[in-house]
Symmetry: C2
Subunit: 415 residues, 2 copies
């Protein structure tokens, strides 16, 4: 069984927005055993939507559609779906009173005829209440196929997925078991790994698929297995991974967990009652921002001092001036001092520091672009490591933030 995703909206085709809805929907479907065959982004044009629906229906049993449900002229998804399914629009009183309620509670302008139109839905559609907006989700049938239409606003769509769409899919579709596991390696390129694991790869059972995912100086190996026998699949993948450790255990540094590295840190620190502060130079607040984007960060994250300039390191953080003079601002000694000072300033158990040069021009230091130091202060020790992160500004910051989280995680696991 396959699903397809269709995202509708000219704003996607002109590149005004990045379509994040598809990745979210694909991820959620995979979790419950449904593979996505194709993702298509199409324009707000009747013929184009009809064609995309036709094509998707020729390949998949479940079609999830987002976008084009607003009240204005350019939003034609609802009418086009009606045409495709040979249905007609009828007034739904529950939707109407929800729209009226939203207007009364949150919107200052009076409700208009156009807003009331939001309550017209295909006569045979099951309505999925949209708590956060005026356009409801719609669950529709076409023979044995299911088509689901949701608004394109990400937080409205996500809420509908969680509370309405996913439970219905789980109820109505017979699904295989899908298992993804991703092994993280460091230190060898994609093709060098291939050569080492060639025999292992060729001996994998047919139902296990391997993918190489090079990113941020690492190669991740994703194993995907699919079938009806959960136990058999889980065991086969376990066995394959154990064998893999036997062959390239020297470059494997762990398995990718569900969720990000920083959410793992958040969980551990909260559970152990530990606290964290950061002193960020070239990472510009990205470490703090990634940590605080996880709800509940206030339980362990004390705060951060962000500053490129040498004077901030001296005056706000209190790094000794002679230390900077002696070792230069991008140095192991300064990274260590920054971590220590952040730990002290924020009264935290742990601190991360970053100092380096992300380019495009050299700053208060003469080091090469891409040279960075990451410091970690713990209740027991302080250290800093030097890295060469390449010459691409955005990637230098990304890689460094990731590396900082890795170093920190290792330390908090020791406590």
């Amino acid at each position: 069984m396959f699903a397809e995703i269709i995202t509708i909206g000219d704003e996607i085709l002109i590149g005004q927005i990045v379509d994040t809805n598809s990745a979210y929907i694909a991820q959620e479907l995979n979790k419950i055993g449904i593979s996505v065959y194709q993702i298509s982004s199409v324009q707000d044009h009747r013929e184009h939507i009809l064609q995309a629906l036709e094509e998707a229906c020729s390949r998949a049993d479940l079609i999830l559609i987002t976008g084009g449900l607003g009240p204005t002229k350019d939003d034609i998804t609802k009418h086009t779906l009606c045409e495709f399914l040979q249905d007609t629009l009828v007034l739904n009183k529950e939707v109407l009173s929800h729209v009226e309620y939203l207007f009364e509670k949150y919107i200052t302008t009076p409700i208009s005829e156009m807003n009331r139109q939001q309550a017209f839905v295909p006569s045979r559609a099951t309505i999925l209440p949209n708590k956060y907006g005026t356009a409801p989700g719609m669950w529709m049938h076409r023979g044995k196929q299911v088509l689901v239409s949701m608004p394109g606003v990400p937080f409205e769509m996500k809420n509908l997925m969680q509370h309405e769409v996913l439970p219905r899919i789980q109820e109505q579709f017979h699904r295989p078991f899908i298992l993804h596991r991703t092994i993280m390696t460091y230190g060898l390129g994609e093709s060098a790994i291939v050569e080492r694991i060639e025999d292992w790869e060729n001996a994998l059972p047919q139902f296990i698929k391997l993918a190489y995912l090079p990113n941020l100086g690492k190669v991740r190996l994703r194993l995907t297995a699919k079938g009806s026998d959960k136990e058999k699949i889980t065991e086969a993948v376990d066995t394959a991974i154990q064998a893999l450790y036997g062959i390239i255990g020297d470059i494997i540094y762990g398995e990718e967990e569900a969720g990000s590295l920083e959410s793992g840190i958040a969980k551990i620190m909260t559970k152990k009652g530990l606290s964290l502060a950061t002193a960020e130079s070239f990472t510009g607040g990205k470490i703090a921002q990634q940590l605080t984007s996880i709800p509940g960060a206030s339980a362990y994250f004390k705060g951060s001092v962000v500053g490129y300039a040498t004077e901030v390191k001296k005056e706000v953080l209190g790094v000794p001036e002679d230390l900077i003079k002696k070792h230069t601002v991008v140095s192991e000694e300064v990274a260590k001092s920054m971590a220590l000072q952040a730990r002290k300033l924020f009264k935290a158990d742990f601190a991360i520091s970053t100092t380096g040069n992300a380019g495009p021009t050299k700053g208060d230091s003469d080091v090469e672009i891409g040279t960075v130091f990451i410091g970690i202060a713990t209740p027991n020790t302080v250290f800093a490591e030097q890295f060469s992160m390449g010459n691409h500004r955005v990637r230098i910051v990304q890689k460094s933030v990731h590396k900082a989280f890795e170093l920190l995680k290792k330390e908090i696991l020791k406590i």
Copy 2:
């Protein structure tokens, strides 16, 4: 003339990555007058890629393809393109010496047969050198249609687009002129705007298309015009926008510039030689991170103190304790004091502060979730404004960061 984009890779279909390549390519194509008809994301499967190529070729003259060009077994784009175009792979000596050069310079492991395979390309393809990676771009013909294959790694693809693909497209395709202009409104909902501008919208010339883009509490109106006569189109859109100001001038607060609000701030501050600091509570470093993500931020951005906790506001920033006691930590007075203290601590001309409650639980304050204060300190004054940003954590932060930039921009334009 239409283009289509095909992004290839199982990692997209299982939601492991968000496909940002498509939005970038679509945006760049639009700038040079090429409309994208459809974006399709497909799996690393031979039949599926062939089918997607067939479908795209039935609709478009130019097909841009990313992904599936790695050296490993799961990367089959090159072979499949060869099959589709009835071509064969031949060794390209320039690509080979580039691959050898990259291995010698950057990669510690010895070059392997598999790496050398990267130098095999379709015999009739024009090779587009990939400075940053081993997989070259390929420019191919199929009758009058052009197919371009690029690696999926975003920074490799972007470099190829800028230096190889876009110049060739501009040379080889006759392109219409496309103009997008986006008017930003605030204070009225989508449907209320529709009612006020209905007559204006109906009177628009056929070649001007209007779209409503509601986001972050605002509605943006995008006008898109397309045709061969650049002067006529520009004039017609100008006239339409002037007329629009006559009707809803009360809710228009500007036109969206190419580039973000923060890049506008960066330009103005750098040009005027002004400097900026921030004190961020619930925004958690996102303001600093967005500012420092723009190259050259060190010219004007001094730094930031990030901290949720009341003690950080007191001890690191120096907000007076009795002020917090009297007004509570989420208050106009504390926001003002935070901005003043940040300006002083970092010796900056301007400072932004944020204090509020982004949920999901109440922090050191009893205010409602979504209640925030944004403070601005300037060389001449200090003020803070209160906002209600809804009840969705991520959006509360996004809206507040955006609002902070708006408030700051107004002030720096006064200097």
